[in-house]
Amino acid sequence: MNSAKYVAGKALRMLTLLIALCIVSFILVKNSPIDPVQAYIGADMMRVSEEQREQIAENWGLDKPPVEQFISWAGAIVQGDFGTSMIYRVPVLTVIGNRFTASLALMGVAWLLSGIFGFLMGVIAGMNKGKLIDRAIKWYCLTLAATPTFWLGLILLMIFSVWLGWFPIGLGVPVGVLSENVTLSEKIYHLILPALTLSIVGVANIALHTRQKLLDVLESDYILFARANGESGLGLVWKHGVRNIMLPAVTLQFASFSELFGGSVLAEQVFSYPGLGQATVQAGLRGDVPLLLGIVLISAIFVFTGNLIGDIICSIVDPRIKEGRASV
């Protein structure tokens, strides 16, 4: 009963968020200097007359007042019609679908790696507070937090692809191979460097957060009591520490979907990786309004879902929330 209420509440929040997002993005695009007709015509500009332009505009309903335009656009969105991408000339959802799968692999790998390594680094630093290893990890994290993703991507590209030649310079698949002939190992091979870039940057947040949490836990009364009861060392940290810092870490990692997405936009650009991030940049630069709006909505859902999963996991695993809700 209460769980249903909880989920319904979350869903309602997401819905209002999406509606607000639709309105804001629509207004932004409407007021941006991008002329959709111009963007559509592109290089054919010379061959399209003023009359034809007006016809296109009329065809798209661009002559109607903005509110009416919004309603017809929003109506189509509700029915699942996101329109057709101007640069790829296929339905927006198809583009997003294809790109998203590629991005998902990249982001998933980066997310897992940064989560696991970030957590470990945080635990190691927290357990050795003030020692050399702690200071090294802290220094690394703080430096990384100030490092732009694209710059790191360029450095990695320079070292591993250009100098050492270990990895491809870019793209998601080998050049000159038909897409149905691309093997999984080739895909993975192309994925490593961008994923590495994303993970290297991604560990900073989770590591610093975990370190702080562990320090808090180690100073807590229950750790003191566990020590009074003769527990010590790694066993103590494992039994009482990890359990108590795992939950916030998981929540944080799920809440980091937005940074992950932002990072992937930059990393994909540097590595010419054909993911959603790259499509976003293209859509923005070339005025592909339907695609841009589609990506904005989908990525919002993506980020929100991340937060939601974090919350749900927390409420399932944490007895204080789980039992608390059941007994109230």
Partner: protein, 334 residues
């Protein structure tokens, strides 16, 4: 600051060493704390080190089968005494003085072996239990033997805790249940010395009575119990002796009879004032405040508030002296 201690140890943590070689007079004596000082090194502005002495020259002892209450106002660092005995002070703490357990110096190594087994702590509240671990599991954790589960269930039974209670998380325990779980945790290792840190904080009178009864029962079974509390009334109900803690040290140790009699039977002006402040007596609080570790008076610690003070009290710190079957730290004590 007090630098009376001649033996300074480089160990940062609780390193209690045997300063004297005298053998113990009383074989009953389970725990003897002598001239215990605990200080914290703090870094003030500009790398200046500040030595904050929170416990200084504390003397107290506990015999088997006896309850000794350490009574002092809240927030005066009494808990640190418990932590010093168990060897769980923070790493920036410095400890001097001697702690002897069963006639032998309680070294860091022995503390490690003994805590949770020979010597155990009953903590103040459920906050001292891991919030994400079922309480039964936590008790088993402290037992550390193969039959931990059985032992835990036995101990739970002894304290009228059901099997289901072991499956609860700390936040689900009611006040009385929480108390019993905490006691169960402490006794599950078969401890001979039990340190109860503030066992009756803001509890329901029934729960207080129950908790005190548990402590009494443990003493009757032969355990030495050190009860650290701010609640002098609770202490008077069950303690055999009461040590009065003031500004980081013990100013008087007296048998319970003297507290029951009150007034002249007590030795230290502070103890007398405390006794007078009880509801059934004058209920009159003592004017003034306890000094903080940062600005202790140079002479007797109670001097600023003492109505018996003389010029002499200002220059020298009184030593603990035996008097009428108790001990007192006052040069004008009678």
């Amino acid at each position: 600051m007090n630098t009376k201690q001649t033996s300074k140890f480089s160990h940062s943590n609780a390193s209690i060493m045997n300063r004297s070689t005298e053998s113990l007079a009383n074989p009953e004596e389970l725990l003897v704390v002598k001239n215990l000082s605990v200080s914290f090194i703090q870094y003030a502005k500009g790398l200046k080190q500040l030595n904050l002495e929170v416990i200084c020259d504390l003397n107290v002892s506990v015999n088997s089968g006896e309850i000794v209450a350490i009574v002092g106002s809240s927030g005066s660092g009494k808990s640190l005494l418990a932590h010093a005995i168990l060897g769980i002070l923070p790493t920036n703490a410095k400890v001097t003085g001697t702690i002897r357990y069963q006639g032998q110096a309680l070294t860091t190594e022995r503390q490690k072996v003994f805590r949770g087994r020979e010597i155990s702590l009953i903590p103040q509240s459920v906050n001292y239990l891991d919030p994400l671990m079922k309480v039964g599991e936590q008790v088993q954790n402290t037992i550390r033997t193969k039959d931990a589960k059985q032992l835990q269930q036995q101990v739970f039974e002894r304290y009228h805790l059901s099997k289901e209670a072991g499956l609860l998380y700390p936040f689900q325990l009611s006040g009385g249940m929480a108390r019993r779980v905490l006691v169960a945790t402490a006794v599950s290792g078969g401890a001979k010395l039990i340190i109860a840190d503030e066992p009756t904080p803001g509890l329901h009178p029934e729960v207080v009575a129950e908790t005190l009864a548990h402590l009494k029962e443990l003493a009757n079974q032969g355990c030495g119990v050190m009860m650290i509390t701010h609640d002098i009334e609770a202490a008077m109900k069950i303690a055999d002796r009461i040590a009065v803690f003031y500004a980081g040290t013990t100013v008087e140790v007296a048998p319970i009879e003297d507290f029951k009699e009150g007034g002249e039977a007590l030795r230290h002006p502070y103890t007398r004032a405390l006794w007078m402040a009880l509801p059934e007596n004058d209920f009159k609080p003592i004017p003034g405040f306890q000094p903080t570790p940062t600005d202790l008076p140079p002479g007797c610690l109670f001097e600023p508030r003492c109505h018996l003070r003389t010029a002499e009290c200002q220059c020298k710190k009184p030593e603990m002296q035996d008097l009428r079957g108790g001990q007192v730290r006052c040069i004008h004590a009678t």
